[in-house]
Amino acid sequence: MIARKRATAPLPGWLALVACIAALGFALLNPSASAETAILTPAPSSSTAAPSPPPVDAATLGGRTAMPGDAEVPLAWMPPGTAASPLPSEEIFPPQTISVRFNHKLHVKQLQQSCKVCHAAAFASDDAADRLLPKPAEACDGCHESDHADLLHVKAGSSAIGQCAFCHLGARAGEGGKVAALVVPTPNLHFPHKKHLGRNIQCAQCHGKIDELELATREQMPRMAGCLSCHAMSGAAQGEAKSACSTCHLTQADGRIQVAFSTGDLSPPPWLHQAGHSADWIERHKTVAANDSAFCGSCHTDKYCADCHDGKVRPRKVHPNDWLSMHPQAARQDNPRCVSCHQEQTFCADCHRRTGVARDVASGNRLVGRRFHLPPEVWTTAPRGPQHHAWEAERNLNACVSCHTERDCTTCHATKGIAGGQGVNPHPLGFRSRCSLALQRNPRPCLVCHDARDALLGSCR
């Protein structure tokens, strides 16, 4: 789900009012039957002597969603990079179960509590695995008058705000003070809060304006797009905010990013090098690899690439079923893709030579009279008809090369005489302006078709 808004629609106002009144009635009749709805009651648990406190209207306290009425959080209050990645990665920040109510705005703005009051551990944390949530005995009990010193025997306070159900959603009186577990899995990354805070990178710079929000969830976790606004230093730069993947991501022994997690496989977001691994990624990855192959190497080994690019087992994601039957037509239509993995004079032609689908082959592999192309009077004999091989060669020279050797073509295209051809000029228009430099750098192809004393060759010298 990409939208930041919760899937659960908020209750209509009139229904909430009816629910509040009904809950109030139930609570007055039977305090132990009240749930986590609108009226909070003290839990009896171990603090049985405490008198019943006056009810508190939870609707005014909030703390169950980020915004009142579960309204969408303005983008300006979200962590940097949210515009590019509306939700944090599930692989990096696994889903949480938040079983408490907490109003950050109330605590920070009204009660003037700084982040450090509750999250002091962050200021000393070097590891993302550190527990940074407040310890209730240290951060909560002072005001809420509860006693979390022994988590197996928590004592509720006497006031309404000291009751278990005031904070713990689903806590019921009469159940021995048991509350639902709060599950905040360890993020799968390296992150030293201490180092960032020490560089005066304050909480809001990564988490957004939590002081404007009620409940903070994993949606307030940083986005990679936000991290990269600082992490842009090359390896040799003096700055600490290196852009290397291993700066933040967990890595394997060989230095590659760990990509497999219980919540899914990590893959690049669409905005990063435009390398989102979409359903058609295999057809698009070449532009990214051409630009920055080291980026690919952040996750993939040499072997991973070689399995397809130098593979000996046909990858079905590239070549579908029955490729053997289909490949001639595919090669005619899309030969640029063939040559990105195959050397045609060997990979293609070796098999073609064995099956006789080539001209310059052993006599036993291609029996007399067998012909692959159209009849000679259409395919090779001049003048050119619409199906003459010249058009095919112009469009698709690589397809010719996957079967034919130089000898086949020089039969006609070499000059007459010592070169043994028929003098059919294959050169493109404008060839003369380029032949001199080509001859200078490598005379071999010229000499295949031209005698060294050929006047035409001399004109290129």
């Binding site: 515009a83 051409a290 003048p383 050119r384 000898r407 071999r444």
Partner: protein, 559 residues
């Protein structure tokens, strides 16, 4: 004797030095990775005429070794050293399997009782062994300033995917620029532990072991197009941006040289009967390329690149694309891709008339949910030729003083058979060489692709549909595949079915519609091992039924 002893001692000293270099320091632990993949494949390949049926009984074995963090403890951003290598045996026990009696062994043996070379395929190896890669690498040396690789390694950039044996040094500056320089020998088929995969197109090279001039030996001049494999020195450099992720560019240059002797004559000299050769160092390829990308995270991005062939003196490839984020679920884009064939500088085909192929496509990628996404793209492929195929021949007939429809009535006079006297081409060629006779005409192929997938916790379902249709024929079809992991991935079940059709106007007798399916199952008895078995069954009117069995064993040990 003393020299021999000295040489032996030096050898041992060198070996000990290498070991000491590669061994982790005392008290420090390197990380080891051993990987082995085994693939067994069995299927048949028939010639179009059906009378040569190759038995493919393939056995592939790769063994990889990686030793990481030779320096000891790995600390991100600090220097680390590693050695990685992978060897491969790619055997086909089906080579020669279809040959019997007098021709037995004829594909790899020149002289058989059935005659010399009647089945011989030069360069065909039943079980080639190659080193895919093997190098020692240092990274982040001198506070991230330096890096190096030494050995057989890949280079991937806008010039393609390439491998060489040699050294590469990378310098990363504090100024968001890094540079790398490399030199060595291109990996060439026919040389020890090498494949032809990384050579430029257009040359048929390989080992001439077993060739000679004696009776029963294949001669070089029997196969003049089959060239010697010689070392190919290569140098290159790249300048690349580093650091910021919103912009990146890489400029690449590479120059590879051919060395040694090459046969030039494709036919014996009509006078002396000999074959001419050239020898010496000459260009194999010299290319420069640049690729770049710039993106704004919440809006989209631009990317593009090109390669220029300095030997051919032309732009060989270029590509470009734009992507726009259309809301939180969709990305829209447009791409262009241009390609004109270029070859090894030894090849004659660089100088044949050839035209570019250009593809222009639009694309939409939609992420419906985290699990379900789809992409759809469509566009055109442009084929260009110099001249108009429908009228060119008529005009040639006129120029040859023939009837305008002479192409439809073959006659001895229109033949280019060397024995034919009065070659009409002589009269037609001046016309065909005129620029005004070569006005570029363009034909189109329509392209369409649809990809969709649904990923759930223990598996996935994917669909791929494609269409390419136009004057060059058509190809269209769809694949549907599904995979399901059971018991936390201990067992895997998979299936794939496909339906494809194709039409080739130049060979209408090869049109067909094919249906195929694949069933597969996997088993992971322990964390380090995975076994997989696949059964493929394809059917079409050309081959009837074709079966393929594939067995895979993957082992991976980390320590």
């Amino acid at each position: 004797m003393r020299d021999c002893l000295l040489a032996r001692r030096l050898t041992w000293a060198a070996f000990a030095t290498v070991l000491a270099t590669l061994s982790p320091a005392r008290g420090q632990a390197a990380d080891f990775e051993i990987q082995a993949d085994t693939a067994l494949q069995g299927y048949e390949v028939a010639s179009p005429w059906g009378d040569v049926v190759l038995q493919r009984r393939r056995f592939l074995q790769t063994v990889g070794l990686g030793v990481y963090n030779l320096q000891g403890t790995n600390r991100p951003g600090e220097a680390d050293y590693r050695v990685v290598m992978m060897m491969r045996l790619n055997a086909d026990f089906g080579v020669n399997a279809h040959l019997y009696d007098k021709q037995s062994g004829g594909e790899t043996t020149y002289a058989t009782p059935g005659g010399n070379g009647v089945r011989f395929v030069p360069g065909l190896e039943p079980a080639p062994l190659d080193l895919m890669f093997g190098y020692i690498e240092g990274r982040n040396i001198a506070h991230g300033l330096l890096g190096f690789k030494l050995g057989r390694q890949y280079v991937t950039d806008v010039l393609g995917w390439w491998a060489f044996d040699g050294g590469l040094v990378r310098v990363t500056t504090p100024f968001h620029v890094q540079a790398e320089v490399y030199a060595g020998l291109e990996q060439r088929g026919g040389l020890p532990l090498s494949t032809t995969r990384f050579e430029r197109q257009g040359e048929w090279r390989g080992s001439h072991a077993g060739f000679g001039v004696g009776a029963g030996l294949p001669s070089v001049t029997d196969y003049p197009a089959y060239q010697y494999a010689e070392p190919a020195p290569a140098v290159g450099f790249a300048v690349e941006s580093s650091g910021p992720r919103w912009i990146h560019g890489r400029l690449s240059y590479r120059h590879v040289y051919n060395t040694g002797t090459s046969v030039v004559s494709m036919f014996p000299d009509p006078i002396g009967g000999g074959y001419r050769t050239v020898a010496g160092t000459r260009t194999s390829q010299e290319r420069v390329g640049y690729a770049a990308e710039v993106a704004k995270n919440d809006l989209g991005g631009l990317k593009g690149g090109f390669s220029y062939d300095l030997y051919n003196q032309l732009v060989a490839t270029y590509f470009g694309g734009v992507e726009v984020r259309a809301g939180q679920r969709a990305t829209l884009g447009a791409d262009v891709d241009y390609f004109v064939p270029t070859f090894d500088a030894d090849s004659i085909w660089n100088w044949f008339t050839k035209s570019p192929v250009t593809s222009i496509t639009g694309r939409a990628a939609i992420r419906f949910t985290k699990r379900w996404d789809a992409t759809i793209s469509g566009g055109v492929r442009l084929w260009r030729v110099d001249g108009d195929p429908t009228t060119f021949g008529v005009e040639e007939c006129k120029a040859a003083r023939k009837e305008p429809d002479c192409t439809s009535v073959p006659s001895p006079g229109t033949s280019i058979d060397p024995s034919t006297a009065g070659d009409p081409l002589t009269a037609a060629q001046p016309w065909s060489r005129l620029a005004e006779s070569r006005i570029v005409t363009t034909t189109l192929d329509a392209l369409g692709n649809l990809n969709a997938r649904y990923r759930f916790g223990s598996g996935n379902i994917s669909l791929r549909g494609m269409l390419q249709a136009g004057a060059q024929g058509s190809r269209e079809g769809v694949d549907v595949a599904a995979e399901k992991n059971i018991d936390g991935g201990r067992y895997t079940l998979g299936a794939r079915t496909s339906l494809y059709g194709w039409h080739d106007p130049t060979r209408p007798d090869r049109d067909a519609t094919s249906f195929g399916y694949v069933l597969s199952s996997g088993f992971r008895p322990m964390r380090v091992a995975h076994f997989r078995l696949e059964w493929e069954h394809d059917m079409n009117r050309l081959v009837g039924q074709r079966y393929r069995v594939l067995g895979l064993i993957n082992l991976l040990v980390l320590k």
